[in-house]
Every structure is written in structure tokens, then in C-alpha cells.
């Protein structure tokens, strides 16, 4: 994929100046780690990069949804999974939005994130951490060149955190890019990692 760039990004929320002149450039194989205190605007920045929040000033390549959005995979605070569907049904639906997958791909994705036994269970019966793992399985299954992840490690245990880093690492190795808002430093090779701290 091309580079994701943003130059002098500005965003106001009413009287509040949320994003002040953010510049960033993330190429394939690189991960941008966005840190900052609570309320610093990490989520807003990520949503702005996805095009969910309109920007008043600043240039980025996100303004071409036709070419870009198909390659974008967003995981926000909410998992975007339905509580009354099973994990496998959720993944089958998510995959149908993007590309054709086989039933065994779904099972493999769930096994990879350690929730294979949840495949036939309704999401509402799973714990918050398990649901996060199902969302990570969706990420692994549906792919896309650019991953935008908002606190992807929330509710995950230590092994889950390691799994998350492993997923991101594999994604970067295959030439993808990632923007990750996080409070924990990602355990990735320094060559792949950039950092942006919001004030």
C-alpha cells in the first residue's frame, strides 16, 4: 500500500482544540504507536484517520474512500460484534463484507487467537477478554493493508497481549502498516516502530 500521511492535522470540537497540527507518515511495514494521557485525543485522531470524523484542516490520503477504505481495518473501543450471534457467525458476517473465506479459515482464525472453543457460543456468554480475542480473530481473518487499532489490548491477559504483538508483527512483515493507540509500549523491533505522543 501507499504511505499514510497527514500534514498539520487540525480538529476542533466546539471550543476545544483537540488535534493541533499533527504530522505523521506511516509506510508499509511500519507501526505508529500513538500514546498520550486520557483525553489527549488518541481516539479522535484514529477516527479522523479513518474518515469517521471530518477534518477541518490537514491533508491525508484517507479522503479517497474508494481506493483506501477497502484496505482499512479498524478496531475501536467497541468490538463491533453482535452479542446474539456466535463467534463463528460474527466472523462469517465480517468476512462477507470484505472477501470470500472458507469455514476452516474462520476456525483457524479463532484458534489462532485462542478462542477456538467459543466458535459455537453466543458472544454475550463470553467474557470481555474473550470477546476482544474474537475481534482480533476478525482482524486476522479480514486483513487489509492498514490496521487502525484503538487500545487493542484492553481486557486482554498477558498471553493475549503477546498474541496481539505477534499479530501486528506478522501484519508488518507482510508489508502492512498499523496505527495503534495504546498505553503499553508495543514490544516490536525498533526499526518498525514509530511513536507519536499527544499532549
Amino acid at each position: 500500500m501507499d504511505e499514510l500521511t497527514a500534514d498539520n492535522l487540525q480538529l476542533w470540537r466546539g471550543e476545544q482544540h483537540v488535534l493541533r497540527g499533527i504530522c505523521l507518515a506511516v509506510a508499509g511495514g511500519q507501526c505508529l504507536q500513538v500514546t498520550g494521557a486520557n483525553g489527549a485525543g488518541k481516539t479522535t485522531l484514529l477516527r479522523a484517520l479513518c474518515g469517521l470524523v471530518p477534518l477541518e484542516h490537514g491533508r491525508d490520503i484517507v479522503d479517497d474512500p474508494a481506493t483506501f477504505h477497502g484496505e482499512l481495518n479498524y478496531l475501536g473501543h467497541d468490538n463491533g460484534l453482535k452479542a446474539d450471534l456466535t463467534a463463528a457467525e460474527n466472523l462469517r458476517y465480517a468476512a462477507a463484507l470484505r472477501r470470500r473465506v472458507q469455514a476452516r479459515d474462520i476456525a483457524a482464525a479463532l484458534a489462532r487467537t485462542g478462542v477456538a472453543e467459543a466458535a459455537g457460543q453466543l458472544l454475550r456468554r463470553l467474557s470481555a477478554g474473550q470477546r476482544r480475542r474474537v475481534a482480533l480473530a476478525r482482524l486476522a481473518l479480514t486483513g487489509g493493508a492498514l490496521w487502525v487499532l484503538d487500545e487493542p489490548g484492553s481486557n486482554l491477559d498477558e498471553r493475549g497481549q503477546a498474541l496481539l504483538v505477534e499479530l501486528i508483527d506478522g501484519h508488518l512483515r507482510s508489508g502492512g502498516a498499523a496505527v495503534v493507540a495504546t498505553h503499553r509500549t508495543l514490544d516490536l523491533p525498533a526499526a518498525q516502530l514509530q511513536s507519536l505522543t499527544l499532549q
Partner: protein, 229 residues
């Protein structure tokens, strides 16, 4: 280009199948609008003098007010849950035309409220004293009218989905916009019951339906995007 179209058809189909499956798992909620329509139309004959002529006079109003209100019942939930659990964001960012996907969701609303209502309408109309010859006309009017009601209602549901309590606001937004549907639908029904030609109001109803199908997807996408911010 055609690859993109195939992908969209697959995605819209999966979305409709998902929503129908969810509706099936909550059949209690799903059946409410239909139950409401049946009860409302059944109450009129009980509350009025049992005179056939009187019943026939109020039948169009009873059928259409019932249809309008029952369509409103399920509207509140159309986008609300998807907005809360993040499913709508996933839909907005999957790279497919958002208008089309929201139209698919609106189609589900019609399949779950409009279509059952059309199917039960012969019974309700008969209970209100409509002659058998009037049934095809009434069905045609309800078929067109409920599609328009779902489309108009979806825009209102999109606008109010991010508000905490929107029940009465949604009704205030949608009901005035639905007035033309009510007028021509009830007129077509009255003419059908009287055994007179009903082409004129039916054509106007069809025009309203086509117009809302043309404009609603864009208004809907804009409304939902504002709600997602």
C-alpha cells in the same frame, strides 16, 4: 467494476441474513409491530356500533394509522444497537457503498414490519368490513405505502440513533413526513372499499415510494455519518 458489484451483493446479502437471524433470536421483539397492528385494527369494530357502513367508513383510517404506528414501533431499534456496539463503524469502513448497505438494513425493517403487515392485511380489512373485491387494491396500496414508510422512517432513525432517549422525537420527525403516504394510502383504500377506480392515488403513492427510495439512501447515509462522529 463488476467484481465490486458482486462483492457488494454478497455483503448486502450477508447483512440482511445477519439481521434476520438476529430478529429470529429475539422473536418476541420482532413480532411486536405485527401484534400491535392486529390489536389496533381489531379494537375498532369492538369500540364502534356494529354497523357495516360505519366500519367501512373508518376502515381506511384504521388500517393506515395502524400501519404508520406499527412501522414506528420497530424503528427505534433499527440502528441504535449497531451504533452502540460498533457494528455500524465496521459497516462504514468496509469500503463498500454505505448508502447501499444502509438501504439493505432498511429492507430488513420492511421485511420484518411492512411485509407481515401486508400479509395480515386481508384479515384486518375483512374484520373492518371491507368487501372481498377491495382486498387486492388495499394490498397494493399497503405494499407501496409500507415501503415508503420504512424508507422515511429509516432517515429519522438514523438522525436520532445517537440520542439516549429518542422515542417521541423520532415520532415527531417521522410522522409529519409520512403524512402524504397516509393521505394517498387511505384515499386508495377508501376508493377500493367503495368499488371505484383507485389508480390515481395508487400512482401518487407509487411516486412517493420511488422518490423516497431515490433520496432516502443519501439522506440516511449523511444522517448516520453525523451520528457516528
Amino acid at each position: 467494476m463488476s467484481g465490486q458489484r458482486v462483492r457488494f451483493a454478497g455483503a448486502a446479502g450477508a447483512l440482511i441474513a445477519r439481521d434476520l437471524r438476529l430478529a429470529l433470536r429475539r422473536s418476541g421483539d420482532t413480532l411486536q409491530p405485527l401484534g400491535f397492528f392486529v390489536v389496533v385494527t381489531a379494537l375498532f369494530p369492538l369500540a364502534l356500533d356494529p354497523q357495516l357502513s360505519l366500519l367501512r367508513d373508518i376502515a381506511p383510517a384504521a388500517l393506515w394509522v395502524g400501519a404508520l404506528l406499527s412501522s414506528l414501533l420497530a424503528l427505534d431499534l433499527l440502528f441504535r444497537e449497531d451504533a452502540q456496539d460498533g457494528a455500524l463503524e465496521q459497516l462504514a469502513l468496509c469500503g463498500l457503498p454505505f448508502q447501499g448497505l444502509l438501504l439493505a438494513k432498511t429492507a430488513v425493517h420492511w421485511l420484518l414490519t411492512g411485509l407481515p403487515l401486508v400479509l395480515i392485511a386481508p384479515l384486518a380489512a375483512t374484520a373492518l368490513g371491507a368487501p372481498y373485491e377491495a382486498i387486492p387494491g388495499i394490498l397494493a396500496a399497503l405494499l407501496l405505502g409500507t415501503i415508503a414508510l420504512s424508507l422515511i422512517g429509516a432517515v429519522g432513525a438514523g438522525l436520532t440513533m445517537s440520542l439516549k432517549r429518542n422515542g417521541s422525537l423520532l415520532a415527531l420527525l417521522v410522522l409529519p413526513l409520512a403524512v402524504p403516504v397516509l393521505i394517498f394510502g387511505a384515499r386508495a383504500t377508501a376508493l377500493a372499499i367503495a368499488g371505484e377506480p383507485l389508480a390515481a392515488p395508487l400512482y401518487l403513492l407509487a411516486a412517493i415510494t420511488v422518490l423516497s427510495a431515490t433520496l432516502a439512501p443519501w439522506a440516511l447515509a449523511a444522517a448516520v455519518r453525523i451520528g457516528l462522529e
